[in-house]
């Protein structure tokens, strides 16, 4: 079965993508992950200046999930372009860049530099990171700010733009519509959900950053609803994810409206898990009586 899909004009050989933050700059996994199965890799969010991130500990395992407070540690756009781009252009997989900034203008400037590099097939706008004080979730919770960021980027770039939304909002449909009005090519959702873990004996938070972002199977039902809401509200192509663990999860996300499905935290348990999902996909689609992944998208019966 041909598993390829068109996602806002990008051709992906399979609908499975690796989620930002869990796949680093992709080349760290070279020789460990077989990228030939993967539709695309969304690399770690980059900012204009390097960021050192939050103090340790940054990772805490919870039931059916992982809480992290990395704090958007990254090498900055200059180092990304000089040190990472040569690696990226050698990988046999389309790469989507992810950017974050504190202002709409900042997003636009970063977007132009990403496009100039010439190796990224699309852009994810991280307007929903729960781990930074400025330039994170503050955009993603406000329809006006979301629209302003997306349109500023849109005016400065021609590659497809996918704002990444948070489900930690009152009404995600409003945010999705604002992104649509701003000129989004598609949507990426969901980001991690703000969370907290406590050590009783010391009465301290488990994470150096005190609060963190929750990912993993624990957030899947929330993510499915967000995908369904945004699909209904906008009809935009969606990269859906949040707790995707196996092929069954992928089918659920596609039924709710995701054209592509991102695997994130599950990669930590099994770096080859995304490949196994892709291998399992054709027979699962056949059983459902569809001859291509795109025929399953948005078919939720209500």
């Amino acid at each position: 079965m041909d598993l390829s899909i068109e996602l806002a004009g990008i051709h992906l050989r399979s609908p499975i993508v690796l989620a930002s933050g869990t796949a680093g700059y992709a080349y760290e996994y070279d020789g460990i992950i077989d990228f030939s199965y993967v539709g695309a890799v969304i690399i770690k969010t980059v900012t204009m200046e390097p960021r050192s991130g939050h103090p340790e500990p940054r990772i805490w395992e919870v039931t059916a999930g992982v809480l992290n407070s990395i704090g958007l540690e990254n090498i900055g756009i200059d180092a990304l372009l000089s040190d990472v781009v040569p690696h990226v252009s050698n990988l046999d997989v389309p790469v989507i860049a992810s950017i974050a900034a504190e202002t709409a203008k900042g997003f636009a400037r970063l977007a132009s530099r990403i496009e100039e590099a010439g190796v990224f097939c699309a852009l994810e706008l991280n307007i929903s990171c729960p781990n930074v004080e400025r330039g994170g979730l503050e955009f993603g919770v406000d329809p006006k700010a979301t629209s302003a960021v997306v349109s500023a980027v849109r005016e400065n770039t021609s590659i497809p733009v996918f704002p990444k939304l948070s489900s930690a909002v009152t009404n995600i449909r409003e945010i999705a519509e604002a992104a649509y009005i701003g000129g989004a090519s598609g949507l990426s959702l969901i980001n991690t959900i703000p969370g907290l873990a406590v050590d009783v004996a010391s009465r301290r938070a488990r994470l150096g950053g005190i609060t963190g972002g929750l990912s993993g199977p624990a957030i899947k039902p929330i993510a499915l609803k967000a995908v369904w809401d945004c699909y209904q509200a906008t009809g935009l192509p969606i990269i859906g994810g949040g707790g995707v663990y196996d092929v069954q999860d992928v089918l659920e996300f596609m039924i709710c409206g995701a054209r592509a499905v991102s695997v994130g935290t599950a990669t930590f348990q099994d770096p080859q898990g995304a490949g196994e999902i892709v291998e399992a996909l054709p027979s699962c689609l056949e059983e459902l009586g569809v001859d291509s992944p795109s025929r399953l998208v948005g078919t939720l019966e209500t």
Binding site: T22, E28, A64, N90, F268
Partner: protein
């Protein structure tokens, strides 16, 4: 595009990592808290692990417990491109390690490694200082030194005789065991054992692994004696390959990515 030299090195490192299933060949309980996992790998293809390097092991937690746990290599029973047997000394501390204690010989376990950078060795007398489960990588270091006929003194500290690791008795070098309560070996901390080891001999290098206050103390002792001290750090990890930045901690002047740049660092990078 022409590949840069740094990229070639990167490729070589990543392709030397094994990812796949191993089989539990044997599980040996060595004390109330410590046990050895002996894991067999067919066709590892990867290069032989060096002391201080580690593997991440899947604990069989499915969707409920997602993360692998990192374990330093304790010893290599056999290693070729076709077949390998590795031992990990594990302390039961939580869900993951409890689960690993309950898997049965013959069971498959997901394994990834060798990962990270290990210890550097020199010609001349080495001082090895461990606290608690920090004994695991230093046991491997001691075996490595013995094979190369390099002298060492091994100071190993434990809480009590109940948590002592008896495998040290098989080592041929100068091994000094300390317990906090004096129930085995000499009474005292590993760091106080290190003080007397410094008084008795001269060393070209100091290797430490254990609780951070102990490592810091050993580093300070080494520094005032003018000897370089390498420490093996532990942080909670997710990816194990430097991708997620989850195990990054503050060093003296910069962030240290424990899984990729470490776990072994020069003490001067840390404090």
């Amino acid at each position: 595009m022409k590949k840069s030299s740094s990229e070639r090195i990167e490729k070589r490192i990543t392709s030397s990592v094994y990812v796949g299933d191993g089989t539990l060949r044997n599980r040996i309980d060595v004390s109330s808290r410590y046990f050895i996992l002996e894991v067999e790998i067919k066709n590892p293809r990867a290069s032989c692990p060096l002391p201080g390097q580690f593997f991440t092991i899947e604990c069989g937690g499915g969707k409920e417990h997602l993360l692998r746990r990192p374990f330093a290599v304790h010893s290599i029973v056999e290693w070729s491109k076709e077949y390998a047997v590795i031992q990990f000394l594990v302390e039961e501390v939580g869900w993951g390690t409890r689960r690993l204690r309950n898997i049965m010989p013959g069971d498959k376990i997901g394994i990834l490694g060798p990962l990270g950078r290990g210890f550097k060795f020199f010609q001349g007398n080495h001082l090895l200082v461990s606290g608690g489960i920090g004994v695991a990588p230093l046991h491997f270091a001691a075996c490595y030194l013995e094979e190369r006929k390099i002298d060492y003194t091994f100071v190993a500290g434990f809480k009590s005789s109940r948590s002592c690791y008896s495998g040290l008795e098989k080592l041929e070098g100068n091994v000094l065991v300390f317990t906090d309560d004096g129930s085995a070996g000499k009474k005292g901390f590993a760091s106080s054992g290190a003080v007397s080891a410094f008084e008795q001999a001269e060393y070209v290098a100091v290797l430490a692994c254990g609780p951070e206050p102990m490592m810091r103390e050993v580093f300070q002792m080494s520094s005032s004696a003018g000897i370089a001290c390498q420490v093996s750090l532990a942080e909670r990890m997710a990816c194990g390959v430097g991708a997620c930045r989850g195990c990054v901690r503050r060093g003296k002047n910069r962030n240290l990515c424990v899984c990729k740049e470490g776990p072994v660092f020069d003490g001067t990078d840390v404090w």
